[in-house]
């Protein structure tokens, strides 16, 4: 069994007790059909950190998140979460062991109501649904008004809020965020990134992909820039802010 068990993901047998698992990626390659997108990615996300992954469109950032969450098989290389290699663990198994991935663009079930979506998020957790709803509506009052509406008819931003609430209510140990701010109003984006910061402080490893450099760097404690399927540079947010300028304007 190469699968990731709940204990290992929880880091109980990890080197640093009490910290969420970190992510270690070595020489990772992945391809869509014949076209290779990741050409040997090396990345180390420290436990409990907020790690921002920057870079231009088409660099392979979303693909990397797909591989980490088990939605795409790597052609070679390794992803280790906590102590155990992810290997061939299925997406649902990873999810159950505390890896929460919010995909880019479509993170809700369109033909289920808002409420039903929330119940599915907590399908496995045995959580109290009232509590789940309360937590969500407190953060996103808009969703409360819409709770009986089919998620597919929500506005773009409302859908994004609903998608993100999964991270809020399932208490994952590792959070993978793809383009959190996409389609969201500035006010909400600001609040959301505050939220991400808080979650991380409470013990969660966050890896986020974001187009808006300064927004991402304002919450991150470490960052990397990815170009053409490789990690180009890696360092503190301040260093990366400068490096990003040159990459984007190149």
């Amino acid at each position: 069994m190469t699968g990731l068990t709940a204990e290992s993901a929880g880091g109980r047998r990890g080197a640093v007790a009490g910290l969420p698992p970190g992510i270690a990626i070595t020489d990772l390659r992945a391809a869509y059909g014949r076209i290779e997108v990741l050409h040997g990615v090396e990345l180390l996300v420290p436990p409990g950190s907020v790690y921002a992954l920057l870079g231009p469109n088409g660099a392979g950032k979303s693909t990397l998140l797909k591989v980490i969450s088990g939605r795409l098989r790597a052609t070679s290389g390794q992803v280790v979460i906590g102590e155990k290699p992810v290997g061939k663990a299925s997406t649902e198994k990873l999810a159950r062991s505390g890896v929460c991935a919010i995909p880019e663009g479509r993170g809700v079930f369109p033909n289920l109501t808002v409420r039903e979506n929330l119940r599915i998020w907590t399908y496995r957790g045995g959580m109290d649904i009232n509590e789940v709803e309360d937590t969500t509506y407190e953060e996103f009052p808009r969703l409360k008004e819409r709770r009986r509406q089919m998620a597919g008819t929500l506005s773009g931003g409302e859908q994004q809020m609903l998608a993100i609430s999964r991270a809020l209510v399932t208490h994952p140990k590792v959070l993978l965020l793809d383009e959190l701010s996409m389609g969201l109003a500035p006010l909400i984006v600001a609040e959301l990134y505050d939220l991400v910061g808080n979650l991380a402080r409470k013990g969660m490893t966050v890896l986020l992909v974001e187009q808006f450099v300064s927004t991402a760097l304002s919450v991150a404690n470490r960052a990397a820039i990815m170009v053409h399927g490789r990690i180009e540079q890696e360092g503190s947010p301040e260093e990366m802010a400068e490096a990003a300028l040159s990459v984007y304007l190149a």
């Binding site: 931003g157 994004q160 984006v189």
Partner: protein, 310 residues
Amino acid sequence: MSPVDAHARGSAVLMVSEVAVRFGGVAALRDVSLSVQPATVTGLIGPNGAGKTTLFNVISGLQAPDRGSVHLFDTDVTAMKPHRRARLGLARTFQRLELFGSLTAGENVQVGLESAVKWWEWRHLSRSFPWKRRAARPGDAAPDGDGPSGLGSVAAATSDRLLDGVGLEGLGHQQASAMPTGLARMVELARALAIGPKLLLLDEPGSGLDEAESKALGDLLVKLAAGGMAVLLVEHDMELVMGISDYIYVLDFGDVIASGTPEEIRRDPMVQAAYLGAMPDDPGSEGATVTEGIGAGTGGSPGIEPGGDR
């Protein structure tokens, strides 16, 4: 003075008058009125769920309003089918991509270019006869478009030109469904431009674009407006909207809560509270540059400031 009175002088390309839409118990739009002038970029901003996309659907005919009317180029189109409105000169893009996935990028644009052509006319059917067909390869000079046999090559060449125009040089032969979001958005834009619109509705064209791309998009939209086109732009990237809009409407809970020039909007306390995020210490103070907002830069844009210029 209502926003319409303030802005509706001259011959508006688009006049939306007191449009209301309800979904069950929810009012998505309540008596919204606005107008768009030719050769301008008009911004439409507002919190999530404010009704921006719904308004676009009403304008383009995908959603019938409960009340109110829509006039395009001085024609009442309230009851008109979407494709007829498009033929009047209205084009749009979608918040979530709507490409013809099994066609190539070039063919996507070509469908737009040829949308006014009636396929059953013999001269167009006969175009696919081999001896009538002129090679329509990228890079061909566009021949005169009058002859029936010329159309195919004109379309292909123009399609290439449009793709070049949005930065997709040489990608005409790519299957659209295989393109990453950023490029696909540009194909959608090129397709919309291909019908030769007088009014272009763009629903968050900047989402999914990186900074260099959205900068280029802004430049492109300004040039289009300078060429006479009216652009109505929904966008959450404040840098982009504030930078290129001539006039901005702000929608909240289905109501137009403010309208004016970018400067006026930026200072409006109501807009700051509802959308932009007010300055924490001194809301509403006149002329203060907003630098304390989250991720705010020095440009005075209180929204998200891309680019690490701090």
